[in-house]
Structure formats: C-alpha cells, structure tokens
C-alpha cells in the first residue's frame, strides 16, 4: 500500500455519518474512495455544490458541473447548488463539519502552512484560509517528510494558512493530535516504530504509553 493510500484510508475513518465534508484537491480527494458504503455524508465542492459525486459516465459530462479542481463530477440525489457566498458562508459560519487539506508544513502549535513558497510558488490561497479558519474539524493529510526533509517543525517557516490549531495530522507514518500541550502521537503507521516517527518529525512529539499502530484494511 503506498503512502497516499495509507493516508487516505486512515483519514476516511475520521468521517462520521451525516457529516458535511470538504476534501481538498489532490491527495485529500482520494479519501472519498475509502469511505465505508454505509456511511452517508455530503461532500461539498466549494466552487458550488453540496453533494459532490463521482465522475460522470462518458459522454454525460456537464460543463456546468465540476469540482474545485475543474474536473467533471456528478451530483448525488439530494444535492444542492450553492453560490460562492453560500458556499463560504457554510465554511466560515461553522457549518462544515470537516475539511481535509494537504500540507507543506505543520508546526508544534498545530498551525498549518499550505499555500505558498515565497519566491517559488505563489498560486494564491484559494479557499484554504477560509477552510482552516472556519471548519469545525481541520485534518491535514500529507506525507510525513518531503524528500527526507521534515514537514512537521517547531515553527512553520512558510507563511501560515491560519493561526488556528488544526484538529489532526494524518501522514503515512503517524496520526498526530495537536493539543494545548503540544503534538501528541496517537498512532504510528504500518511498519513504523515510535522511534521511526520521532526521527522523521522536526517538532517534539508527546508520547503517552504504548502507541498503537494504524488499523487500516
């Protein structure tokens, strides 16, 4: 199982029935594939629909029905079209139960940086700042290290996405919960020891007793 699948499968376990969930583009969008069939949730695409569905059948694509990445999608029965004011009203007003976002860095405070590398990548924040500031739960889904470099650091060196502590960090090596006291190691990845995780993490990790391994199918 590759790193991304591990992460997507583990994040999927955090989703509870009847939630309204926003999945970022890229890795986070894979989470939808691993949701148990009996867990009914509505996915929001912030560009304008609640009840985002899978890719449409060939030849049935509608240019007026895409996800936030611009790809053709479907709408599930019970879907609602929303304009950008309603879409971000839901996000900023605390109506979105969970957002799953990629990360460039997360720090010991649980602050996320995921939108900009000064001098290199300035794509704009899109909806990321609103999502992190407003969603009830913010889950960061990312590989634990980037080409051997730490992504979990004492303090983010990249510009923050929001000065708000995220709810959970899920990587291929660990599940980490940022708390007032610091980053708590909740689970270790498949075939990872606690020492492996600590070595791959730039920030201090709080370890309480035995740390269980992720249970992923």
């Amino acid at each position: 199982m590759d790193a991304k699948e591990i992460i997507a499968r583990r994040v999927a376990q955090e989703i509870e029935p009847e939630m309204l969930v926003n999945l970022g583009i890229g890795l986070p969008s894979m989470v939808a594939n691993y949701l148990p069939k009996d867990v009914h949730v509505f996915f929001q695409a912030e560009n304008g629909v609640i009840g985002l569905g899978a890719r449409p059948p060939e030849g049935m694509e509608d240019p007026d029905l895409t996800d936030a990445g611009g790809g053709f999608v479907t709408a599930v029965p019970g879907a609602a079209s929303i304009d950008s004011a309603m879409s971000f009203g839901l996000i900023r007003g605390g109506h979105l139960d969970m957002t799953v976002l990629g990360g460039l860095q997360v720090d010991a405070r649980g602050y996320l940086a995921n939108w900009m590398i000064p001098g290199k990548m300035v794509p704009g924040m899109g909806g990321a700042m609103d999502l992190v500031a407003g969603a009830k739960q913010v889950i960061v889904a990312m590989v634990h290290t980037a080409k051997g470099n730490h992504k979990i650091l004492p303090e983010c060196t990249l510009p923050l996405t929001a000065a708000r502590r995220v709810s959970l960090i899920v990587t291929d090596m660990a599940v980490i919960e940022p708390t007032e006291a610091g980053l708590v190691l909740k689970e270790r990845g498949p075939d990872c020891s606690v020492d492996d995780v600590i070595a791959a993490t730039g920030a201090n990790l709080i370890v309480h007793g035995d740390v269980p391994q992720m249970q992923i199918a």
């Binding site: 007026d64 996000i91 900023r92 899109g126 909806g127 700042m129 510009p159 929001a162 000065a163």
Partner: protein, 217 residues
Amino acid sequence: MKHAVKPGEAAALIPDGAILLVGGFMAVGSPHRIIDALVARNARDLTIVANDTAMPGKGIGKLISAGAVKKVVASHIGLNPETQQKMISGEIEVELVPQGTLVERIRAGGVGLGGVLTATGLGTPVEDGKLTVEIDGKTFLLETPIKGDFALIAARQADYVGNLEYSLTAHNFNPIMALAGETVIAEPQTIVPVGVISPDAVKTPGVLVDHLLERAH
C-alpha cells in the same frame, strides 16, 4: 424589457482601464463571448476581479494572454502560469484574497456595507496593512468592499426583463457580482419570455441587470 446586445456592442461599452467583476471558477460559469469580444476589441489596462484567471486559452486566461489586464484581484492564479509570469515580470499587479473574503467583499460592495469583520487571514500575510477590530475578546480583520465599473456575468437562462437563473456549479460568483457592478452585463445561454421563469426560481432580479447579451447563434 431589456434590449439584447451583441458581444461586440457589450465590449464597446467597456472602456480601457475599467474595473471588471468577472464571474466564473476555472472558466466554469464565465461570460465567454463577452471575454472573446474584449480580446477582439484589443481592450487594455483592465482590472479583473475574479476568483481565478482560469488557464491559458480559457475564460479569463484569454484576457491575460492578450495583454488586456493591468491588475488582478483573485483568490487563486495557480493554474495559469502566464498570470504568474506576468506577475513576476511586473506586467500585472496581483492582489491575492481568500476566496470567502473575496466574495464577502464583493457582496459588501453590492449591498452597501462599509466593510465586514472576518477571522480568515488573521496571522497570515493577508493581515498586512489591515485594520483589526476586537469584539468580545476576539480579533477580526476589517475587510473593505469591492465594486466594479462593470460586472460581466454568465447565467443559464434569462427572461426579457433580465431575471436570471444559474446552473449547478456555474453559479459561483455570478449572483454576488450582479449586485456589485455599476453596470451589469449578463450572458445567458438562453433567453425566454417573461413568465417562463417563476418568481421563486429567480436568483438575480432583472432590475440588477443593465444589458443582456443576445443568445448564441
């Protein structure tokens, strides 16, 4: 009763240097024929307020490629490398605004608010140079209204008095921008007689719309 205008007539209404609110999200729900006509009339020095600049050869991307744009106010330019290159070379000034803040600033301009307070952007570069206000111990950024000389919007359907309906994820910024343009030009896919659109289905009342683009041939 509105008069239908041709794309060239619409483009001729819009002077060089104008501030344009342009609907769409990655070219979905953008007023494509008006954009083409602006490129055809060799428009210059435009300020474009929009969610994004799409990609080269699509939607707002065509205005970027044509050198028609002096300034962009957007949440995301990541999928248009031309916009990024022109930003770096200094040809285009880019103001990046969180997507939810962008739509609330446009709405504020449209509904006569002097500004809105938001938590989005706090502790990030978005905060730079902005007033913060503390309410009941919580800090907020004061974000100011945005208005356009023109709003160029796309709609699914119009009736003869300009009432508009939108489709699925092609709503996005269009209904909000319709409130905030000094002159509003709407590009509907179809135009139907008065009475075909039920009052309850109207998303943008015709009184907001100054010009309707004639139907596509």
